[in-house]
Every structure is written in C-alpha cells, then in structure tokens.
C-alpha cells in the first residue's frame, strides 16, 4: 500500500480498485464480485442472494397466486372446509398483489379468480348460516 491510496474494507493492506455498487465500501480486486456489469462486495452478494434483492441471484419464489387459486378451486367441492380455505385463499390472493410474482412475469388473473371464487364461497356460507338461523327462529 502506498500512503494516500484507499484500502480495501475487508483487506486493509490491499489497494482498493472500486466501490461496491450496493453499499459503497471500497473493494480490492479479490473482493470485487462482478455480476452482469455491477460490482458487489461479498457481504452484499450474500445479502442480495438471501433476500432476493439481486434478481440474477434469486433462486426461488413463492407463487402466492397459484396457492390462492388452488385453495379456492379445491374449496368448491368441499363446501364445509371452505370456511377455513376460502379466507386462506383470500389472504394468499391479497398477498400475491403485494409481492412480486414469477421472475418471468405473470398476470394477476389467478389472484382475481381466486378472490372471486373465495368470496362467492364465503357468501354461500353466510347465506347458509342465515338460512339456519332463520329456520331455528321460525
């Protein structure tokens, strides 16, 4: 190291060649990890991989829209289970609007269908309960 030169954050005895594009820490040639034109430090690379911040390192995604639709469709013939599965389907459908869907892109049609089906099932349940209450009173 020559006096006045910036040093690597992880190896203070080594000369920094560039900053991390994510956290800005100075990196030596050894710590500089290039990924599709961007440069990351090992820490940011690991964090990005775990939290899915770096798209090209993303390994898996939960498909909430498909879970919601499956739950809603399965609930149709199993009407008595729908009191549990329909709210779950609604929960997953709403969640799917908030989180990114497939990495290759997808529409929100599944979530919308799940919402409609689960809503209809819950409405059916409500009507059935009303019918029971009305009959018991009458």
């Amino acid at each position: 190291m020559v006096e006045g030169e910036a040093s690597c954050f992880y190896h203070p005895q080594k000369k920094a060649v560039r900053p991390c594009d994510s956290c800005g820490r100075f990196l030596c040639a050894l710590c500089d990890c290039e990924l599709q034109g961007e440069h990351f430090c090992p820490g940011c690379l690991e964090t990005g991989s775990k939290k899915g911040k770096i798209k090209s390192l993303e390994k898996e995604r939960m498909r909430y829209d498909k879970i919601a639709l499956s739950l809603a469709v399965v609930s149709m013939p199993l009407f008595f289970l729908a009191i549990i599965s329909a709210p779950l389907a609604i929960y997953f459908a709403i969640r799917s609007f908030r989180v990114p869907s497939s990495i290759v892109g997808s529409t929100k049609v599944r979530s919308l269908i799940a919402l409609v089906l689960a809503g209809a099932l819950l409405a059916g349940w409500g009507l059935w309960v009303l019918f029971l209450v009305k009959n018991s009173n009458g």
């Binding site: 390994k59 898996e60 290759v104």
Partner: protein
C-alpha cells in the same frame, strides 16, 4: 409496454423424476445472457440459470417413448372400437365405447404427429442437466437453432484448423492399469503369517 426479460422456449412439462404422481413441472426460458430453467413444485418456483458462456453442449437423444405410447393408445383405441362394434345394439355402450375409441385414436395420431420423443440435457464444464421440458426432437432442434447464434456470440467460433489443433494438443487418455505379471515359476510370493 416494456420488453419482457424472458422469452418462453417451452411450456411447463411434468417432471417425471420425483414421482409418478408428482405435480412438479419444468419449463425453459430464454434470458438476455442465459437460459433459465424453472421448476415448479406446486407452490414454489425454483430457478436455475445456465449462462451462454458456460454451455458446452445441448445433447438430444432420441427415445422410443412416443412410439410406444402411440402404439399403446392405438391398441386401446382399437380395443374400444371393437367393443363398440360388438355392443352396437346397446346405444349407451356404443356411444361410450365409440367415444373412448375415438379419443384414444385421436390422441395416438396427435402424439405421432408431434414427432419422435427425445431426452435432452444441457452440458456445462461441471454438470449435465436434464431438461424435462424438452421432450420432442423437433422442438429441441428449434431451441438449438435459437441458441446457436447466442452461444456463438458469447463464446466465439473456432475454424476447422483450430478445432484440429485443439484435438491434437489434447493429452492422450491414460493407459489402462496393467495387471501385475504372475510370479515366475518357483518364485513364492510373500505371505503374511498369523
């Protein structure tokens, strides 16, 4: 509308590996600088990327699965057709058996029209990955045609002379281990005594 990052190369096909009744499926997508294999297990998508610079080969092996399937479907169709003829006096049985026969024969013909089946895998320096979504030779060749210019752009090309030079400079395979010569007559090999 923004350009999509990935282009679909194959539709999701059931992955036969995990189990016979598994819902796991696999599809193949073309990215900017890589191929993306998506494996879906019913609730999670798993992504595997194969960068163009790393791909060494797309191996296409013709299989007889399609032919066997077409023969079985055709035979079943014939069986139901014969049953329909035999039970032609019963309208319900005639329509049911006839319908089944028609369905099976149409499936067999459609299967045959799609062309021969194949088992495809992608080879890199460190792995050979099966591509369950590529099941037909015709589709595999189409994918290969799409990939060729991209792989060439990423890896460059070799002239025939360079290929010949590469083959010549490759080290010769190691000689197979030779057996130790049998002991000469009268020469007793050493033995470990208890």
């Amino acid at each position: 509308m923004a350009d999509r990052e990935y282009t679909r190369l194959t539709w999701a096909r059931r992955n036969p590996k995990p189990a016979l009744l598994s819902t796991a499926s696999s599809s193949l997508w073309l990215g900017k600088d890589h191929l993306l294999v998506i494996e879906f297990n019913g609730y999670t998508e798993k992504y595997r990327r194969f960068y163009f610079k790393d791909i060494q080969a797309l191996i296409i092996c013709k299989t007889k699965t399609g032919l066997i399937r077409a023969i079985i479907l055709g035979a079943l169709g014939l069986f139901f057709g014969l049953l329909a003829v035999a039970l032609r006096d019963e309208p319900v049985a005639l329509y049911f058996m006839g319908g089944m026969a028609l369905l099976l024969v149409v499936s067999a013909v459609a299967d045959a029209l799609y062309g021969p089946t194949a088992l495809c895998s992608l080879r890199t320096a460190v792995q050979t990955e099966e591509l369950p979504s590529l099941k037909r030779i015709r589709r595999a060749r189409e994918v290969l045609e799409v990939l060729k210019p991209l792989l060439t752009a990423a890896q460059g090309t070799l002239s025939p002379e360079e290929v010949a030079a590469q083959v010549q400079t490759r080290p010769a395979p190691a000689e197979p281990a030779t057996h130790t010569p049998p002991a000469a007559v009268g020469e007793i090999p050493p033995r470990i005594l208890p």
